[in-house]
Every structure is written in structure tokens, then in C-alpha cells.
């Protein structure tokens, strides 16, 4: 598609009859957001977006007058599935397994998520705990549900060497737009630890200097995992690991909010876990003074 002189991308799309959501046409409401997968959108067209969105090529077509060709896709486009080989499936706790797979050319940021396709009609989203710079594999943490179809496939049928497909990555829950000396707080429950673990390692690798705190919530101590690795980080860096288990009276949201609210205005937050937990934390931290732009989150709905 060729733009007329002075035309915005939104105007060109509408002229060509492409149905695309929009409202204010002035770069305010962000409902027209699209993503460039080739070519860089002009800086002006990324006004008001988060650093993570900018890094992924998101832009606002209603204020975008490109000067060079771009290839654009809808904001939630996951791309074509590609083949991956299972390298390991091993237990992390009583009901969480670590899944490692290998694939060619999968560019991602730790903390993003992908779609894992075991067979046509059986796919789930999982967050990435691995770091592309350090790990030759993609790592996900999968909670096994007794009646879940994917859980059964992973625990009974699939083994190292088997093939499956993945698509993505997606999501903006990764280390970007955080100042190196800013306090960084990671709060998650259950397998919400996976993206947080990825973000934590990415932050350390990129030389984050500010204090880092990680709250991990679980029903009981058997639900905690990666505790040795996290305790080792805590001995080596300015990093505090705060496990919170319900059976010892520690609800992770209550605990984290009480400690974090007083310093919320200056902290960068990453929140990962079930929808209710993430919603509550996001709202309460915002009300305590955290800037919405400093809160990144990834909420999941459980599905086996």
C-alpha cells in the first residue's frame, strides 16, 4: 500500500477499506495501535507508549506519517507457528514441571509469553523464564492439573526429542524502560514465577543496580520452587527473596502491598499470576502512587 503525501497510516488503511479500530485520531486514546515487524515507525508515532511497546515496534497509525517502508500487523498478531523440539520435561515441585524446548530463530525477551501447540486444537500460553543470551533453549514452567489435557500430554505422552509447535512471542512484561538504579519489585504467585525469573536474570545481566525484591506466593511451602537458585542470587546481589505461603498466614498480595506501598511512587513493578491477584495489585499499587507506566503485568487464567 502506498501512502499519499501527508497521509497518515490510519487514513491510508481506511481509504483502502481495511477495518481498523480508531477513535480520537489524535494519538490520545491508543485504540488504533498497530505493530511494525519490519521498518521502524517514526518516533512521533510512538508518543505516549511504554518503553516495552516501543521496543516491540508498536505505534499509533493515526499520527504516523512514515518516511520509509514498514510491514505492519495487528497488535496481537502472533505470527506463523514454527517447529520446536522438546529437550527436557522435569519436575520443579510437586505439581510444576520445567519444560525446555529448542527451536531455530525465535527472538524474544525474558518474561514474554508464547503459544505452545501440542497438536491441532491443543494449545496453551506459557511465559518464558529463559534468557536468549544465556540459554540455548526456551524454558517454561507448567503447572500440572490432574484433568488438564495439556498437563496429561506433558506428564504422560511427550518426552525429550518429541516435536511440537510454538507461536509468538507476545506480551510486554519484560525488562525495558526501567532505570538501572531504580528499585525493582517482582510479585507473583504459582507459575507466575516463570516470567519474573526471566525478568530478574535479564535485569541482572543488563547491570541493574537498584535494589530488587521478589515476592513469590504459593499455597504452602511445597508450592514454592527455584528456592535454592533464588537464595543464591540473594547472597550474591542486592536482591531480596520473599516467599509467602498461605499456610503460614502470608497472603502474597497483602504482604507485598504493605511493604511496597510507601515506596510505590519510585519503584518499577512486574506482576504475574492469576487475574484477580494481578488486578488487585495493579490497582492498589497505582492508588499508592505507582505510575501506570512503571507497572508491567501478565495475568493468566488457569487452563490445564
Amino acid at each position: 500500500m502506498t501512502l499519499s503525501p501527508g497521509e497518515t497510516v490510519l487514513e491510508a488503511l481506511l481509504r483502502a477499506g481495511v477495518e481498523t479500530p480508531h477513535s480520537c485520531r489524535a494519538g490520545q486514546c491508543q485504540c488504533c495501535m498497530l505493530r511494525a515487524i519490519e521498518g521502524a515507525p517514526p518516533e512521533e508515532s510512538q508518543r505516549g507508549l511504554t518503553e516495552a511497546q516501543k521496543a516491540l515496534g508498536f505505534f499509533l497509525p493515526c499520527i504516523c506519517r512514515p518516511t520509509a517502508p514498514m510491514k505492519i500487523v495487528p497488535p496481537d498478531d502472533a505470527g506463523a507457528p514454527q517447529e520446536a523440539t522438546i529437550r527436557a520435561i522435569e519436575p520443579l515441585s510437586e505439581d510444576v514441571v520445567r519444560l525446555r524446548i529448542e527451536t531455530e530463530n525465535f527472538a524474544y525477551r525474558p518474561g514474554q509469553f508464547l503459544e505452545l501447540i501440542a497438536e491441532p486444537g491443543l494449545s496453551r500460553h506459557y511465559s518464558l523464564a529463559s534468557c536468549p543470551e544465556e540459554d540455548p533453549f526456551l524454558e517454561m514452567h507448567v503447572r500440572l492439573h490432574p484433568n488438564g489435557r495439556m498437563s496429561r500430554r506433558l506428564s504422560a505422552d511427550l518426552r525429550a526429542g518429541d516435536k511440537l509447535h510454538i507461536a509468538g512471542p507476545r506480551g510486554t512484561c519484560f525488562y525495558e524502560g526501567v532505570a538501572a538504579d531504580q528499585p525493582l519489585t517482582l510479585i507473583g504467585a504459582g507459575t507466575g514465577l516463570a516470567p519474573l525469573y526471566g525478568v530478574l536474570r535479564d535485569a541482572l545481566r543488563q547491570g541493574h543496580r537498584g535494589p530488587i525484591r521478589l515476592y513469590h506466593g504459593a499455597r504452602d511451602s511445597k508450592g514454592l520452587y527455584l528456592t535454592d537458585e533464588l537464595q543464591a542470587f540473594a547472597r550474591a546481589r542486592d536482591f531480596t527473596y520473599i516467599p509467602a505461603t498461605l499456610d503460614t498466614g502470608g497472603d502474597v498480595a497483602t504482604l507485598a502491598l504493605a511493604a511496597e506501598a510507601p515506596r510505590a511512587a519510585h519503584t518499577a513493578f512486574f506482576l504475574c499470576g492469576g487475574e484477580n491477584l494481578v488486578k488487585r495489585l495493579k490497582r492498589d499499587l497505582f492508588m499508592a502512587g505507582a505510575s501506570m507506566k512503571a507497572i508491567r503485568s501478565d495475568a493468566f487464567t488457569p487452563a490445564g
Partner: protein, 121 residues
């Protein structure tokens, strides 16, 4: 003379005001329920469009947009008292940010001018 939007500080002023304004609105028991279950990021972007409009800045809002955006809320009981509460929160946001009285009143007058559209009258 420069526009009200420019006098207030343009987009930087909108950015400074938007989160503070939304925090006040969410903490206001008279109107908080209208925001139940809404996505906060999305809502903040909408607050930003609203403030840009209220500051007299660049926007292409039409009465029809305003009506569509608020139809659901009018069905839930949105009325003049709630619009008053929103404008009150806007006033107090601007005062917190040190905006002079004259401009506060100008902003309130612009916000007031969309009252009928917001209430779908």
C-alpha cells in the same frame, strides 16, 4: 494569545495531570463504581483524551463519540451529580498542580460544555 492548552503546558501538563486525576476519581466514592471492572491502562488513555479536550488541546471528539462512550454508564444511572463530581476532581487535580484559578475555571467550563453529550441528552 496562546491557547489554554499551551498556557497549561501542553502535552506535558496532560501527562502530569492524568494519573493524579484518575487516582482522585477512583478514590471518590460517589463515582468509583462506574469504573468497576474497567481496564486501567485503557481507562488512563481515555482520561488523557478527556483532559486534552478539557484543556482545549488537539482532539477530534464529537458529541457522538461522547454519547457512545457514556451510553452504558447512563444506563447504570450516570447523572448530573456524577458529572459535577468529575469536574470537582478535575479542579482539585489542577489546584494540586498549581494551576492558577483563572485557568482552572476555563478548564471546568470546557468540561462542562460536553455535559449534555456525556449524559446523552
Amino acid at each position: 494569545m496562546s491557547s489554554l492548552y499551551e498556557r497549561l503546558g501542553g502535552e506535558a501538563a496532560v501527562n502530569a495531570a492524568v494519573e493524579l486525576f484518575y487516582r482522585k476519581v477512583l478514590a471518590d466514592g460517589r463515582i468509583a463504581r462506574f469504573f468497576d471492572g474497567v481496564d486501567m491502562e485503557n481507562q488512563i488513555a481515555k482520561q488523557k483524551s478527556f483532559l486534552t479536550m478539557a484543556f482545549g488541546g488537539p482532539n477530534s471528539y464529537t458529541g457522538l463519540d461522547m454519547r457512545n462512550a457514556h451510553k452504558r454508564l447512563v444506563a447504570k444511572g450516570l447523572n448530573d451529580s456524577h458529572v459535577d463530581a468529575v469536574i470537582e476532581n478535575l479542579d482539585s487535580t489542577l489546584r494540586t498542580l498549581g494551576v492558577p484559578e483563572k485557568e482552572v475555571r476555563e478548564v471546568a467550563a470546557i468540561a462542562n460544555s460536553v455535559r449534555d453529550d456525556v449524559l446523552c441528552r
